[in-house]
């Protein structure tokens, strides 16, 4: 099974860190860069890239830099709100790649696929897909809720590693961002999530924070770790179920490539 740890630093990069020099349009190089950009799009509920979750059915790039991406989800009735977030994020990420001159995102085999694809092609938000039935603010609130959960789960994994490597409880609660392990995908991702939530991620900021951004105090550490493990279990179990459903539905070998045809 793929875990974020197996993705390497490229997959964790933000879209803004795509190569600065504009390369020539089209060609295999562009497709690779588009896939790298797609690898920065996360399932907001699972906190995993849509590429390692194998949600990309296909990614086609014409010589003129027109990109067509087909997305698939584990079931035809996966939540439309999360489906929309991923499709819209994918569109944004691909558009930011230098050399891309047009993007079509298509969500396939989904019961609200027509509504979502239509809104995306018109450049509209979730309310454009379901006018009068929803509110874009609700969608962002939902995303934020899951970003907080993901942050706690990632941080706690780093914290557990530090504790098992000999750090004391006092060490970890007084640690700063500068003292976090380098080249640790969970630590890197946690800092991205902090930035998304507007929490300080400067070198002198506390290494481990609560969902509200406050540092974790010594007497809170045990409960924070216990709660974080529960959140992580929920994320992992759900992610596992999604992978199994997708593999069953599309008859996928567990070890095949991340992007389809």
């Amino acid at each position: 099974m793929n875990t974020p740890a197996s993705l390497g630093p490229e997959a964790e990069a933000r879209p803004t860190r795509a190569p600065a020099a504009a390369p020539a349009a089209g060609g295999a190089g562009l497709r690779e860069r588009v896939l790298s950009a797609l690898a920065t799009v996360y399932d907001p509920e699972l906190d995993e890239p849509i590429t390692s979750l194998r949600f990309i059915t296909s990614c086609e790039v014409t010589p003129r830099g027109e990109v067509g991406v087909v997305l698939r989800l584990p079931t035809p009735q996966c939540a439309p709100n999360f489906a929309f977030l991923m499709a819209a994020d994918a569109r944004r990420a691909v558009r930011s790649v230098p050399g891309v001159h047009g993007v079509t995102i298509e969500l396939e085999d989904h019961y609200t696929g027509d509504e979502i694809n239509g809104a995306l092609s018109r450049g509209e938000g979730f309310t454009g897909a379901f006018p009068g039935e929803t509110d874009d603010d609700d969608l962002e609130a939902l995303r934020e809720l899951f970003t907080r959960k993901a942050l706690i789960a990632r941080q706690a994994r780093v914290c557990e590693q530090m504790l098992s490597s000999g750090a004391t409880e006092h060490d970890v609660v007084s640690a700063t961002v500068a003292e976090l392990p380098v080249d640790n995908p969970d630590a890197t991702r946690a800092l991205q999530l902090r930035a998304q939530l507007g929490f300080a991620a400067t070198p002198d900021a506390p290494a481990f924070i609560q969902p509200n951004g406050e540092p974790v105090a010594l007497d809170q550490l045990t409960r924070w770790l216990r709660a974080a493990r529960l959140i992580r279990t929920g994320l992992e179990a759900n992610g596992g179920m999604c992978r199994s459903l997708l593999a069953f539905r599309h008859n996928l070998d567990p070890e095949t490539q991340e992007v389809g045809r």
Partner: protein, 348 residues
């Protein structure tokens, strides 16, 4: 009675369906929803052992005979509880309404219990219907589906003010078990309708009622656990947990079980097969044998253990207590351990 290794187990399957989901029952103009719904359920069946998978045609329209064989004969289920799911916006006669379930219950009145439903958006007419249903089928429980669509509304919450009159009505009618579907996020659109936190207030305000959270709020298991640990009348319904994870993802299953045993405890967990998504036999069989894959590994070492007595509670005795089901002698009695402890304390 399920027999394994020379031992007999009293089984209450607290989550069963007898649905009708074939094209003949799809509402015109809503076919893609009706089809999508049953295909989604069918995909879940894929998480069980391959030899238990059915083709989609059978899955849409299994028969009473299939049910009797799979649940009673092969599964050894002593008593089953039907959780009615209406979905009449998509299925002409309902997906599996109380009427459909009751048709089978009437053949096996000692082995089957039918739960009803309510929807606070139906107002006074809904209250009246609940009263009629309760008398007709002697309801002890209801299954609530907060994500269900209703006249342009795409969900409701247990802490909506409109819900309380329905909970009051349940108390008047002797309905004490409130099963709430809080599971995989199949449905939420504008509302996050599978967020379990609305149960918190309802459980606090209605201590006479039991709230069984079906599918333990997956993927919101932490929201569920934090609530369940504070509310004595909140229970974990293990449908989908066992069926969806025990075979397909055994390590995750072990962790989810460990967390539930830690936060909720073996006295408040209820087996449910979610038949016809999954047959009960392989679930019961595997659960009786289940242990953490590496009990001493650091991933599992500090989770509570689950012994044979605990498994008996989860497989039947806990639900028997909630539904007033008579448990035969020698099967373990639900309160025996607790009473012994109390006597010891008094004697000491």
């Amino acid at each position: 009675m399920y027999e394994k290794n020379g031992e007999k187990y009293f089984i209450v399957d607290s989550h069963l369906h007898m649905w009708s989901a074939g094209p003949d029952n799809w509402v015109k103009g809503q076919e893609q929803y009706a089809k999508g719904w049953i295909e989604c359920f069918h995909a879940y069946m894929g998480l069980g052992p391959p030899e238990t998978h059915w083709p989609i045609e059978k899955f849409m329209s299994y028969t009473h005979e299939d049910f009797v064989k799979d649940v009673f004969e092969d599964g050894g289920v002593d008593v089953g509880v039907f959780q009615s799911t209406y979905l009449k916006e998509w299925y002409t006669k309902g997906f599996n309404d109380a009427e459909q379930n009751a048709a089978l219950m009437e053949k096996y009145p000692d082995k089957l219990i039918v739960n009803g439903r309510f929807d606070p958006r139906d107002g006074d007419a809904g209250l009246k219907q609940l009263e009629e249903d309760a008398k007709r089928w002697n309801l002890q429980g209801v299954k609530l589906y907060t994500a269900e669509w209703n006249n342009g509304s795409r969900g409701w919450r247990l802490d909506d003010p409109e819900t309380q009159p329905f909970l009051d009505k349940c108390k008047d009618l002797g309905i004490k078990n409130i099963h709430v579907h809080k599971g995989p996020t199949i449905w939420p659109l504008d509302k996050d309708a599978f967020d379990p936190r609305d149960v918190d207030k309802a459980a606090t305000d209605n201590p006479e009622l039991n709230f069984i959270i079906e599918h333990v709020g997956l993927p919101r298991i932490e929201d569920f656990c934090f609530m369940a640990t504070q509310e004595p009348n909140v229970y974990a319904g293990l449908s989908v947990v066992i069926g969806g994870l025990m075979f397909a993802r055994p390590r995750f299953f072990a962790k989810v079980m460990g967390e539930l045993l830690f936060w909720v405890g073996e006295d408040k967990m209820l087996f449910g097969s979610d038949y016809g998504i999954w047959e009960p036999k392989w679930q019961i069989d595997g659960f009786i044998d289940w242990d953490y894959p590496q009990p001493d590994h650091e991933e599992f070492s500090d989770y509570p253990r689950l012994d044979d007595a605990g498994k008996r509670k989860i497989l039947g005795l806990n639900a028997a207590k909630l539904y007033g089901i008579q448990v035969p002698d020698g099967m373990g009695q639900p309160d025996a351990a607790a009473k012994d402890d109390a006597q010891l304390v008094e004697a000491g």
